[in-house]
Amino acid sequence: MTDSETLVAIQQALVDLEQISFVAHRDTQAALAVIQPYGNDVVLEWVLACKALFAHDRDAGKAFIRGSEAACIASQSVLSWTHQALQFLAWRGSWKAVDGYMGQLPDAYRSLGAEGEARWAALGLDWCERHLDSGIAYFRCPVLELEGGHGIAGIEEVVLPSLELFTKRRLALGTYLCGAIRVRNLLGIDAVLPWAKRGADILQAGRLRGEAFFKLESEESMSLLLENLPGFRTPEHQRLLQLVLYAWFGETFDLLEGNWSPDKGRAFIETDGEALYLPIALPSREEAILAILHAAGHMAFYSFEQRYIEALFKAVGREHPPLDEHQRITWRPLFAAYGEDMIRFQLIFDLCEDTRVDARIAATVPNYLGRLLAAAEAAPLPEGAAAAYLEWARLVLRWMAAGAPGGSDFEALRPLLSVEATVVDAYKTANEVYKNSILPYISLAERELAYIPGRSPNAARPVYPRRALDHAEFGTGTEDKDDVVKHDDIKPNPEQKQIPKHAAGEDPDFDIPPEETAGSGGRVGVGIPQPAHVMGYAKGAEYSEKGKPYAEWDYRDNRYKRNWAWVQEKQLTELDANEASKLLTQYAPALKRLKRAIQTQKPARMAPLRRQFDGDELDLEATMSYIAEKRAGMSPKANIYRQRVVQHRDTAVTLLADISTSIMQNNPNGGGRVVDSLRAGMLLFAESMEEVGDPYSLAGFASKYRDNVSYYAIKGFDERLTAHTRAILGGLSGRLATRMGAAIRHAVAGFDRAPSQRRLLLILSDGRPADYDDGGDERYLHEDTRMAVKEAVDAGVHPFCITLDAAGSQYLPQIFGPGHYLILDNINDLPKKLPEIYLRLRK
């Protein structure tokens, strides 16, 4: 073909293209300028390719034409990628792949070179051949991410393992790729294959679960990754951090898991004024300790104190924004005034406030500044604008560590070192510094690099304004400082999904505000008094959907009402493992003491009984004194033997907790709610019982009307204490009323499954028996409970009631008999007392 023929052919092709699409023609013309220098033959081929692709699929054509200019500039060639693009003609609906391909081309040429690009394209085309969607996913995946700085080898290492997954398990590349890249970036290529294999296993078990795993959306996937995350892992050292904070600040801080994940950049400890949010891993132990001290220092030294926040907004001359739905406040309006330069100001403000707080911490924690400085000196300087900030922070720190000598550049910061300085001073100082500062403009992306190790953005989260100072003024803040058993109101971790309360399903009026059922016999459901009238007998006894019927004693008729109260066994579905572990940590010393006390009681070895009248061997000491006394002319008792027997106490126990609405109310002795003590009590009881080794079961009960008594079996005699059980106990909450008699009868029936001869039923209550339908007649359910207790005794079960109701002595002697109940004045004692009581009873 001669040149002129070529030119004609080009023109012809262009005309054809114009006829098909005006836009395509226009775009082609635009790109031609870049293509033309490569010669007419090339241009012809390219234009024909445009036409072919456009004819094949309009979108593919458009993508090709539009991407050509950039591709040509990046590759300094035309034909190589044109030929590659033409291969897409083989598949219908491949335009998405073409689109992705053309989009990635410039990057591919730049980062991989021509050879690498060819390999990259070949790999992708193979995938298109195998499975078009996978090919699309491949080409859509940004090439820079794909290679991850390793060139074409990086691409191969990520993509090749998926071949096997695809052929054997039909795992599409799209499912695998994003996750795999993230895994590689986080943990290195070696982690990818085990991760993918695990994923493939999971995928076999269930498609949805497996896909969630590959998208790194599922817990198991994340946890698999996080398990392998290098650095100082905070979840494993939570207690250490907690102890360190307690030692230095004398306060317990809530340490919660933050939502940081390894690909979100630098790990910081954040705070919202109430809790500290820990990333799963921090680079080193030292940094973790410094960071937690620093973050807690913000809380301890009033960075988030309500009055100062208010003063701060006042200083700016504006109202602080309304609190959000969680009663949190956001800092944003403070920075908004700085517009584009917001990040710069924010960093300066953070540095001022950090300087203030660190000065205060240094007064408490010896050598703190030295360590912070050492960590800062060791930190590598980042590139870009952040370096200046980091360097500045270092200089300030050096100045502070040197005892803040006069005449330095940092005189402006001196007021912040005073004990009286507040966050407001920090803000004012920051403004001064900001005006005179030569620190460069910095972008949000670079911000995280500007902090020295240990410090973090202070305004990372909206904060709950603290009111520690307000409390301190009224002398309530420090009252229970020395109390081990400290109950803070349990607040939800906003990071974690709360199980909606009605997910429990069975309690329609769960959300009814707590009613007064404790104390001296407050009532629930008091309406118009109705006689508890017998309307007829339930038919077809035994178990049905209505549950299991029990007779109820009516003192007015002096007879049983058959099949009157219906008990349904249910499962508690609200789990709170976090709470459970928190309680266990909180009560660890008490539990340890209990366990030790139990161990001394437990016949771990065959303990010799000394001074027995009968036995296998002589008790030498007793014999000596026997002979000596005999010689001395006395007549000692002949208890000179030793016996080795296992002291076997064959006892089974059921702990039956009243979980009526009243347990949700606040503890009259202060410190949290009744339910907090109840949870802790049951947890400690369970843990102690594991140590004792006696068979035990745990249950809770609540009721609403006679035909709706819920019996929540938490742990059966033959079940083990599992994390699940603990989580149930941690998530225990109150509902409905207290129909105790029916619950006792059901619990007694449950002893059929207990292996032991001696049976103990511990009832844990916080008020008198009552239900919505008892017509205001307290005595009715009292009498019924009394009969239930009597029946229990007849059945060989020993009931014992532990009540939190201070007025319990008014009615418990009648119900349980004198000596068969115990009133705990201080609910906070419950966790420690409960196992003790059991041990005393079982003797």
Binding site: H237, R239, L240, Q242, L243, V244, Y246, A247, W248, G250, I289, V365, P366, N367, Y368, G370, R371, V484, A588, P589, K592, R593, L594, R596, A597, T600, Q601, M624, S625, I627, A628, E629, R631, A632, M634, K832, E836, L839, R840
Partner: protein, 282 residues
């Protein structure tokens, strides 16, 4: 004086020993409160005394000091689980073909008019705690059940028990009937300035700065009591740590050996304690 004392080392001595008369032999004690006056008043009226307080806060040292001050011999009995009443009161022994009665330490103290100190009384079996009842009220008698006798206590006799309310509270406690027979003196770890003085006095080789750091670290470690630490860092442990430092051990290591390792096996807790110590000594 010291030479004389040294000659007595490694030699069996009777448990009834009058304290050394001169001032040089005085046990070192820093008063924390009014405990000296209270004790002296109780002694004047011959009332039994109960010393309550955590381990290593100076109960025993206080009593040694008081015995010296009041010039009474001190008989110390460390109570343990198997301590029976005959271990306290006495027993018949065989000697050749004869049986002889041997007085127990309590009986000896009652006869000699000594101060009898029953250390950690809760540990003892209840039968042995009950026999002290008649000694602790107006009767001031010790019944010798096996001999069918009773002894009127010497007019200078005084009974002192110690009792650490901390770790025995579960399932192990003195009976109220026993407790209420005593004058109670509460002890706690001394205030910082007194503790500084004590450590300085016990380990004179250390320089003041080091002592200050040691005491500060110890006091800080004390805050972790009840957070897994059952017994807080005691003044005695601080003195031990001081001695280890004086013996040439690196301060951090010395504190680890004296303050951390003995009190906990819990790795996280020891880490937290070490964190405190390192912060002070780094």
């Amino acid at each position: 004086m010291k030479g004389f004392l040294n000659r007595l080392r490694g030699v069996e001595r009777d448990i009834i020993q009058l304290p050394v008369e001169d001032d040089a032999g005085a046990p070192y004690y820093e008063a924390q409160n009014n405990e000296i006056e209270i004790f002296e008043a109780a002694y004047r009226k011959r009332l039994p005394v109960m010393l309550k307080g955590p381990t290593g806060c100076g109960k025993t040292r206080f009593l040694e000091y008081m015995a010296w001050r009041l010039k009474r011999p001190l008989v110390t009995v460390s109570c343990h689980e198997d301590l029976t009443s005959s271990d306290l009161v006495g027993r018949f022994l065989l000697e050749g073909e004869q049986t002889v009665w041997q007085d127990g330490p309590l009986t000896r103290a009652v006869k000699a008019g000594a101060i009898c100190y029953l250390d950690e009384i809760v540990e003892a079996r209840t039968d042995s705690t009950v026999i002290i009842h008649p000694l602790t009220d107006h009767r001031r008698q010790l019944p010798l059940e096996k001999k069918g006798q009773e002894i009127e206590a010497h007019e200078d006799f005084m009974l002192v028990i110690s009792y650490n309310p901390g770790y025995q509270t579960v399932l192990k406690d003195l009976k109220p009937s026993t407790k209420q027979r005593f004058i109670g003196i509460n002890f706690d770890y001394p205030r910082e300035e007194i503790e500084l003085k004590i450590v300085k006095n016990e380990v004179p080789e250390l320089d003041d700065a080091l002592v200050a750091k040691l005491v500060a670290a110890g006091r800080r470690a004390r805050t972790l009591k009840d957070h897994g630490l059952e017994e807080a860092t005691s003044t005695r442990a601080l003195v031990y740590a001081g001695n280890m430092i004086a013996a040439g051990i690196d301060p951090v290591e010395a504190c680890k050996a004296a303050l951390v390792n003995p009190v906990t096996d819990d790795p996280e807790l020891s880490e937290a304690l070490m964190e405190i110590i390192r912060a002070h000594f780094a």
